[in-house]
Subunit: 720 residues, 2 copies
């Protein structure tokens, strides 16, 4: 491979000049950054590289924050459930919360801003029946309904920035002061963040890129009384709440939010919840406000001839990059952590920025870089999953984080990253700005649509969840497949129908979640639009509990499209005769063993027209049915693997009635993929595995030839 | 064992006199019966035995039935779902039905008695928009909502009795006429059944017992267009419907039923559905009518100095023996098939009859009695499971069915039944009319309560269902455990509270079913009564998805009593820290390996107060929690086994805070049980297994001694 340079960002640190220069050269780096806990020497800043500097907007300024504690950020929190065993009840509402993080808001009248709810009936208890004891942080109630359960929703101040809290506790930072988060919506804070940025920019002439980490509001991250994570939601708008915000909301939207609109029975509107209209309004309200404020900061950065870069994480709430307002802020770049193909696409597909950058793994921290461990293994895995997605939509830059000095001690790792960075630049040079060949246009349908592009089934970034991995695999498979992916919401479909050129719609998730759709499937318009679209030739792939809402004798509302439904126990009296598997089905031609992850039980075929493709343990796990000119495919679950990526690809081609089109720019071996770039007359064959592979490679006319690829290899070819 | 006689009924047949006498002697039989397809010779009828004669009330009288085809029995049936792909729609509503069984009712006006439903919205389509084409059996619709799904609920006549149809088709009876079922609610039929019975009784002086098989309405059993079972519900009131019944209902209850009240979205109100008030009213209406009519027949039988015996099955609808009206009919006896302990208790516990009889397995049919097979194996298994239940509440008689000549060819079987009949009589003589020692009083709580005593989770009698076996095991375990079992409904609890002396309540089933309770758990009164009862010391055992109704942030509405809830995907953001298993828990002291059957995933402990007793595959499957003086226990599923019977027993003692009481009249070995009869100062130790067992046996004071029991052995002892 040709030695190239550029498009790579390295972390550096003090007293590491020579080694930094050496690594910059080997890895072709053209930018340097500080990290949490590292600073750059002046000498390093003078190297031939752009300098990124981490910048905190709404924390890390305790001198200011302490003068305006009344401008601390706020949260609505719910107490645990308490059962009334007598006609009076005491609720120590702070129980289970971390008092170093949380303190009740006694500045604003609890009777106006708090809510006590009878969780047995769902009714709000009149403030006449309860009192707050500020000394003990207790709500005392009288005349309660005995044996009902109650909760208190209370407004609190957040005294400690969650990211700093996490790092502080994890790394045992002792008496390092706790960063107090302040709220840009408040007058002093608003003024301060702008004035401070002006001043900081003047004081940091060597900085080329202000790396905002991030802006105003942290995703919801609440600790428990043992100082451990209690609640985490990467999409949580919890910390954006305040009395000021609620009052502004009322003024803007014309109605008042209840605490319950935020608290949401203790679910706090996680991304798995089907959003209420109130919550959608609230998100919109916050995003609009945040965009306006961020734009002012970006403008200031630009006035100083520097670039503004946003780290996608930490205090990113309100800046959702696929939201309506994000393009208006004028951000130059977004950087985010790349854990797999899906997270790469979250970043790479962001519209309205000059460039995107991915921070690759492993982070240069002692948990990976210790004697006896080989960090190349993680790096290789990370690169292979990410590369699939890069082939579809490249990031503009890649980078690393942590202590460069640690990485330097692992020569094999240094060699490997040299290879990766060259390979990245080769890919980028070949394909950036080019539309890759696309066999199908696919829309993922859920309650969030475009707003949460590539962001379905995520709780905490990068964490595995038993309830999510069998669906997250769908996105991961798509992230590097030769298909065009868009994200549409039920409301989009109702308002505008299915976009013109879509071949396949995917609906994947557990019943009742935002991703499956819950009561949205009761909407006759939604159902009618989709039935018509499928009948006229559309493909609909359902995974898990797609279109599930128990209504009028159906559980899957598009059961007739899938040819299957789920037995809830009510139709056991109806004989289930259809269990015979269709042999040699197109969808499973490449399958060796099925893996449906958590899978789904009690799925049965509706009638003889259903093609049962997998049947085991008294249930169907893979099936298809025709509906007019269209087709439905049902899959019980799809954890990520190369085999399942192929399964999904075949399911989509089958659903779209385009089986004949699949073997174009296609590799027969499931561990390999082909990506073609017709504008450039180039194509690449990649081996996504860490073993040598032999595969038939099909060109754009369907002609095949046999090829051998080394472990992880990418081979570029030209075509005419 | 002492040779005894009596309490045993044998089938016999023509030309089998000597062998019948021989077997009567060996088995101590004192009654003889005919079977489906067998008749008794006059000589046999003169033997020293009561003679049972099978009697059909509402079928097997085609000479009459053909004269009054307008009095044939009726059904409400639902067509398949049809999607409107245009603005007109044709629904061939008979599709999938068996035209030898079903014919549409064109006598009564479809526009008045049928219903076309938009299943996408649930709305009824005005009869102005549809027509019935009687020639093609089609409903044609105009101005339909395109892309909605529609069904037709139509009134039909049932031309063929389902039991005869089943036997006819199964045994290939060729041109044997089809029994036409007629409806006792109709004038001619009503008169006929009484007149015919009078005449028949005169013509059958040798008959001592009229074995009604059964009365008027068959449980719902509908065949498909291939002549195979399409829908079967042992509790189904489907065939009791008629225009006459609906009109009488309206008059009696003051409101009109809709077809949908019967059709119920195609679920036809199976016993797994939470019954609507309309359906409960309908059941009550039918039961009252049937009881009145049956009483007249029983009175006629009594006038002829004969006994009336009801076979619990076939046309038993309306005679549910735990219903309010059954005791009033004056039935002498009930006989039913004994498949296991649960079915034995269904029969043995029936109130208001002189005696009960169980027909044991195997049935003397060629499917078991063929060369090379050993029918003793099935007989032994049947006896062991039934014997457990007999020890709690004995039947008054046992018997067999089928071809006696077949059984006669298997001498080992003849020997075995000789042993069983003697053992049965010994048990009966020792315990009948005596209250056995009872350690706990247990109530099974569901939507049906007493009406369906011992009859939960049944679809078709004796058939295994993936969705049911993990709950049916609870009943089977209870049927032979040393506990008193009653069945209570949610409405009972709301109206009258928990009965005084109950130690433990069990709620077992899948979410939304009548057995778990679905929306019943939204009722604050129900919840409050139970919380109070538990708090004051009650034990509550939940199995599967107990108290499940997603409401106000809880899925299990008594989650705090169990200490666990189920993750639906909405609370993934809340960390689940509690996974550590409590060592050496009382409930699992005798467990070797867990078997939760279909089990339940995603169950998590609420807090540190939960005792997690089993945790695997990232979930809790067995847990307990304290609530006031009471306790909750959660079990993920309980298929029947000796181990699980013990697990449930321990769970109940633990829930009731009576752990110290368990080792009274108790066997340490899970395959053995002890039943004591304090009034008689006798107790029995039984080995429920087919292998030799060693066990500690505890007496009523908790003193133990070691005993050895042969395979299947029962040992009787006296105590002072």
């Amino acid at each position: 491979m040709k030695k190239t340079t550029g498009r790579v960002t390295l972390p550096s640190q003090q007293h590491f000049l020579q080694e930094t220069k050496e690594l910059m050269e080997r890895w072709g780096a053209d930018a340097l950054r500080d990290s949490d806990g590292t600073k750059l020497d002046d000498e390093i800043k003078q190297l031939n590289a752009k300098i990124y500097t981490t910048y905190f907007v709404a924390r890390n300024h305790n001198d200011f924050a302490k003068q305006h504690l009344e401008e601390m950020q706020q949260l609505y929190l719910m107490s645990p459930y308490y059962t009334a065993t007598e006609t009076t009840l005491e609720i120590p509402f702070l129980k289970g919360y971390f008092e170093e993080q949380i303190t009740p808001d006694y500045i604003h009248d609890p009777k106006r801003w708090w809510e006590v709810i009878d969780r047995t009936t769902g009714e709000v208890v009149s403030p006449d029946y309860w009192q707050v004891d500020k000394a003990t942080n207790c709500v005392t109630m009288k005349q309660v309904e005995q044996w009902h359960e109650y909760t208190v929703s209370f407004l609190a101040y957040m005294k400690w920035d969650p990211t700093q809290m996490y790092n502080h506790i994890t790394n045992d930072w002792g008496d390092t002061p706790h960063d107090i988060p302040f709220d840009v919506r408040q007058p002093y804070s608003n003024q301060y963040v702008k004035a401070y940025l002006q001043q900081w920019l003047k004081e940091n002439p060597d900085t080329d890129v202000v790396r905002f980490t991030t802006f105003f509001y942290h995703f919801t991250l609440i600790f428990n009384d043992l100082g451990k994570e209690k609640f985490v939601d990467w999409f949580g708008y919890g910390a954006s709440v305040s009395v000021a915000a609620l009052e502004a909301f009322e003024k803007e939207k014309g109605y008042r939010l209840r605490p319950e609109d935020i608290v949401d029975k203790g679910y706090y509107n996680t991304t798995f919840r089907i959003p209420s209209q109130a919550y959608l309004d609230y998100i919109d309200f916050i995003q609009q406000f945040v965009a306006k404020e961020v734009k002012e900061l970006v403008d200031i950065v630009h006035e100083h001839d520097k670039e503004a870069m946003m780290f996608l994480g930490d205090n990113w709430i309100g800046t959702e990059p696929y939201g309506s307002y994000f393009p208006s802020v004028g951000m130059d770049a977004v950087v985010g952590s790349v854990g797999d193909g899906t997270t790469l696409r979250i970043i790479a597909d962001i519209p309205g920025v000059q460039y995107t950058e991915g921070r690759f793994l492993p982070y240069f921290f002692p948990d990976t870089f210790y004697e006896g461990n080989d960090p190349v293994i993680e790096a290789n895995e990370n690169w292979l999953t990410a590369r699939r997605a890069l082939m579809r939509k490249p990031l503009d830059r890649i980078g690393y984080g942590g202590y460069l000095s640690l990485a330097y001690k692992f020569p094999k790792f240094v060699d490997y990253v040299e290879k990766v960075t060259d390979e990245f630049r080769e890919i980028y040079d070949n394909i950036h700005g080019i539309q890759p060949y696309t066999g199908l246009k696919v829309a993922v349908l859920n309650a969030w649509g475009k707003l949460r592009t590539w962001q379905t089934h995520i709780v905490a970034h990068g964490k595995w969840y038993k309830k999510a991995y069998s669906y997250h695999g769908v996105l991961e498979a798509l992230s590097g497949s030769a298909v065009d992916v868009s994200f549409i919401s039920f409301d989009d479909v109702i308002a505008k129908g299915v976009p013109e050129d879509i071949d396949v719609i995917i609906n994947a998730g557990d019943a009742g979640t935002a991703f499956s759709g819950g009561e949205k499937w009761k909407n006759p318009q939604l159902i009618s639009i989709l039935r018509k679209w499928i009948y006229e030739g559309g493909g609909f792939v359902g995974i898990g509990e797609p279109t599930a809402y128990h209504h009028e004798g159906r559980y899957f509302q598009l059961a007739n499209v899938f040819g299957v439904d789920k037995e809830l126990g009510f139709s056991l009296s109806t004989n289930k005769y259809f269990t015979e598997v269709t042999d040699n089905h197109f969808i499973t031609e490449d399958m060796v063993a099925f893996d449906f992850g958590e899978s789904m039980e009690y799925i049965y075929a509706l009638n003889e027209a259903t093609e049962i493709i997998e049947y085991s343990n008294d249930g169907v796990h893979l099936a298809s049915s025709g509906f007019g000119k269209g087709r439905g495919v049902y899959i019980a679950g799809l954890p990520y693997s190369h085999e399942n990526t192929r399964l999904l690809l075949r399911a989509m081609y089958y659903a779209a009635h385009k089986e004949g089109e699949m073997r174009k720019w296609f590799a027969s071996n499931v561990h390999c993929e082909v990506h073609a770039y017709p504008e450039r007359k180039k194509y690449a064959i990649i081996n996504n595995s860490t073993e040598k592979q032999v595969t038939d490679v099909y060109d754009g006319n369907g002609n095949k030839r046999r090829m051998e690829l080394e472990a992880s290899e990418i081979i570029w070819e030209d075509f005419t």
